[in-house]
């Protein structure tokens, strides 16, 4: 009883916080929130309508006739569409269940071990069970949002399309309520075991990195059209039906849903009750067990530091100032003679921090992986490898497109790396920015150190990347030099712009690296960077190319080329200077 009262008190506090957060937010945030709610409602309605329409269309005579015609042309193509349609809820629930299994771990971990109010709750004279239950269900909140905003409209739309009545709708809602319980229950035990071994923060970083890799895997599959035929066709449709066999609990739920729609109450009772009983019993059992582990201290908040650490060995290479004249072996005055010592200190510090946060590495791995795929495609599609292309004009245009493609890949890789290493610049300092603010270093020097860090991937990674790409494409040396020059100019200009916006609109209190850029900085960066890229590319590539196409004099073409480069250089210098000045102005205004 005391637990229930406490849960109610804590829940009421959460509601107050939510109400106050909205009530005391700026008008802009309020409007954004209302727009977001409206957009979500619109999306849900759209999903519902489209799902219903699609299901109706698949059952319509038009589609059946088209399918019959296709079957007449290809005798092997006679899939059982109705069977596939009836298996759809099972697929959907299985897919949602798989996603919940993975995401619930992170969600429960964050809520049970890493939420900010835990200290306050744990020292309060309230039952530990109440804290555990509240935190546990707070962790499930995101799962329910995901289910009810994305899957509910599709499932309900499916029912409407099939002509099912309210019984189906009610059972569908109950199914979605029960669906996260089993994965969450099992995840709670897993969380306890993991936090017993490693610190909660590290566990979260590892899970985020694994999540990124998983997403990368899915994306990789979607980028490979060669793999697509394997998923389309009669055999594959039939093989998908194999998943409709009742081996896994979500399939039971799917079958119960169809039974509810068809008023087959016996099947509904068998599958529905099996699914509900298993979900509730496993969830209840895990909850009690996990709570017990949390309560007895086997794996509670007090243990979040993981196993007691061994005393670190005093490695000579890590001792303070072991390289008397350098920050690190890499960032020294000899290599960066133009950079003030203070800027060099910031550069060295940021470079050290980067690989120590797994979430940064995850951000860097994904674009690299993506760029690898694009590069393979670029090389495979290059004109040299296409013997059928003999028209010189086509080859010339393709060569230009190849150059732009190489440049685009290199920019993407470098900017993604820059973002992973330095983010929006100042925001990376988080709440430790007071150290820079109270140090005798000008805002301009702070930004200079940050700019060097953001720009570094362009010469360090972009150069070898372009060399490899151009070598594989057998591109001429002059072409490489031109593209390399453009890459460096664009890199410097866009880095300065994003750094400046990050300094004018900083966010120092982020926790998730994906939320370290403010809305204003993101929007303006999305607007200004492409503008700058377009402007510089017009000066360097488009104008001379157009002049050449218009059969201008060689002297004019040369003058336009040189003039374009000169203007591009001057423009970049101006952009960098202006960005640094504006960024410094932003930092000077910043109060902590």
């Amino acid at each position: 009883m005391k637990s229930l009262t406490t849960i109610w008190v804590l829940l009421r506090a959460q509601l107050h916080i939510a109400k106050n957060t909205f009530g005391h937010s700026k008008l802009r945030s309020k409007i954004s929130t209302i727009l977001l709610i409206l957009a979500t409602g619109f999306l849900m309605t759209w999903l519902y309508e489209k799902s219903a329409d699609l299901v109706r269309f698949v059952q319509s005579p038009v589609f059946t006739e088209a399918l019959s015609k296709a079957a007449a042309q290809k005798p092997g193509l006679t899939p059982n569409i109705m069977a596939s349609l009836l298996a759809l809820p099972s697929f959907l629930l299985l897919f949602a269940w798989a996603m919940l299994t993975f995401s619930s771990f992170n969600s429960i971990l964050s809520n049970l071990y890493l939420s900010g109010d835990l200290d306050l709750l744990l020292v309060a004279p309230i039952p530990m069970r109440a804290v555990f239950i509240l935190k546990f269900f707070s962790g499930l909140f995101a799962q329910y949002v995901f289910l009810f905003f994305l899957f509910a409209p599709i499932l309900l739309g499916f029912g409407a399309g099939m002509g099912y009545d309210e019984i189906y709708q009610v059972v569908a809602c109950f199914t979605l309520l029960l669906l996260p319980l089993l994965p969450a229950g099992l995840s709670s035990i897993l969380v306890m075991a993991v936090v017993r071994v490693i610190p909660a923060k590290l566990a979260r970083e590892v899970v985020s990195a694994l999540g990124g890799l998983l997403a990368m895997g899915f994306y990789f599959l979607s980028l490979m059209p060669e793999l697509a035929p394997k998923f389309v066709g009669k055999q594959n449709l039939e093989s998908l039906l194999q998943f409709d066999k009742p081996f896994l609990p979500p399939v039971w739920a799917g079958k119960a849903l169809i039974a509810a729609g068809q008023h087959d109450f016996f099947t509904l009772c068998i599958y529905g009750s099996s699914f509900a009983l298993l979900s509730l019993s496993v969830f209840g059992g895990c909850l009690v067990f996990a709570e017990h582990l949390y309560y007895i201290g086997w794996s509670n908040i007090a243990f979040q530091g993981g196993k007691s650490k061994e005393k670190p060995k005093d490695l000579p290479k890590q001792s303070a100032f072991n390289l008397a004249d350098n920050f690190t072996f890499f960032f020294n005055k000899q290599l960066f003679p133009f950079l003030p010592t203070q800027s060099l200190a910031i550069l060295g510090k940021d470079w050290r921090i980067f690989p120590r946060d797994l979430r940064n590495l995850q951000q860097a791995v994904f674009p690299l992986f993506l760029a690898g795929i694009w590069t393979i495609r670029l090389i495979l599609d290059s004109p040299e490898l296409r013997s059928e292309l003999e028209d010189p004009k086509t080859v010339e245009i393709l060569a230009l497109l190849r150059e732009i493609g190489s440049l685009g890949t290199a920019i993407f890789v470098c900017s993604a790396l820059a973002n992973a290493i330095a983010g929006p610049g100042i925001s990376r300092e988080q709440q430790a920015f007071w150290l820079l603010k109270t140090a005798p270093i000008s805002s301009l020097r702070i930004l200079l150190g940050k700019l060097m860090l953001i720009f570094l991937p362009y010469p360090l990674v972009g150069t070898p990347w372009l060399i490899i790409l151009m070598l594989l494409q057998h591109a001429p040396f002059l072409s490489f030099v031109r593209i390399w020059g453009i890459l460096l100019l664009l890199g410097l200009g866009t880095s300065a712009v994003s750094l400046s916006l990050g300094a004018i609109f900083p966010r120092l209190n982020w926790d998730n690296p994906q939320r370290q850029t403010t809305f204003q900085a993101s929007c303006l960066s999305l607007l200004l960077s492409p503008l700058l890229i377009f402007f510089l590319l017009t000066l360097i590539l488009a104008i001379p190319y157009a002049a050449a196409k218009l059969n201008s004099d060689l002297g004019i073409i040369l003058a336009l080329n040189l003039g374009g480069w000169g203007l591009a250089l001057a423009s970049t210098a101006l952009v960098v200077w202006l960005s640094l000045r504006l960024g410094a102005w932003g930092l000077d205004r910043l109060e902590l």
Partner: protein, 258 residues
């Protein structure tokens, strides 16, 4: 001691400092000076404006009016000269979590452009004094609050500041560490550094400070040595503090409830 101090030029100066947050005047016309070798306690109830004043003095906040000067340099118009002479430890010292203590000091040395060899020697010495030498290669993120506080103190002292600001320096520290900080403050002041320290622990202020400033509702309501504040009576600093900040009623209420 007081005569010696008064003859020197002040290191920390607040001239008519004011800070307005929207319509709320957090600090109103604050004037004081701290001289070399002096330890000044900054006292006041919660929300009195101590941290805001301190933040204006170190350059984290811009004053709405008035001037903050460090060793004669205006923190707003000559920030680099002023900041080079400041050491500051906030009440919640957020530090770069993914740096080790030794790397953190290396970073600070770079920011303050210290001579490498001297900085190396001094950082080793500070790490030893603060008991962090054995754990200098551990990430600061793994440090306890007290250890972070010590790391922040080591960073603030690395460049031998002329003006040392501490916001609640003993909060969250064990008695041994609190004693260590007291000893270090005496040592630092003994070498001519002006120390301004905000604290709620009146015992510390009573035992350590040459002078105290009592701030209430953004204004300095009393300033002077302990003897001056007592004005011939045998009142404790706590009594004086409660009388001046209107806490006497609460004391009476607390006694009535007993």
């Amino acid at each position: 001691m007081v005569t010696e101090i008064a003859s020197a030029l002040p290191v920390i100066e607040a001239h008519g400092l004011e800070k307005l947050f929207r319509e709320n005047l957090a600090v109103a016309n604050v004037n004081f000076a701290v001289y070399p070798g002096e330890i000044v306690g900054f006292l006041g109830p919660n929300g009195a404006g101590k941290t805001t004043t301190m933040k204006m003095l170190v350059g984290l906040l811009r004053p709405s009016a008035g001037q903050a000067r460090i060793a004669g340099f205006d923190i707003q118009s000559q920030p680099l000269e002023a900041k080079a002479r400041i050491g500051y430890v906030p009440d919640q010292p957020y530090l770069p979590e993914k740096l080790t203590a030794s790397e953190f000091l290396e970073f600070i040395a770079g920011l303050y452009q210290l001579d490498w060899r001297i900085a190396k020697q001094r950082s080793e010495e500070l790490l030893r004094i603060f008991g962090l030498a054995e754990r200098k290669n551990e990430l600061l993120g793994g440090y306890s609050h007290g250890m972070r506080q010590k790391a922040a103190l080591a960073g603030a002292l690395l460049h031998n500041p002329q003006a040392f600001f501490l916001d609640e320096p003993t909060v969250g520290l064990d008695p041994r560490s609190a004693r260590l900080i007291k000893d270090i403050l005496r040592d630092v002041a003994g070498r001519g550094t002006a120390v301004l320290m905000s604290t709620h622990i009146l015992e510390i202020a009573e035992r350590m400070c040459d002078r105290v400033l009592i701030l209430n509702k953004g204004k300095i309501i009393a300033a002077g040595t302990l003897q001056e504040l007592r004005a011939g009576t045998d009142k404790s600093l706590e009594d004086i503090f409660l009388t001046l900040t209107g806490g006497a009623e609460e004391t009476e209420l607390a006694e009535a409830l007993r």
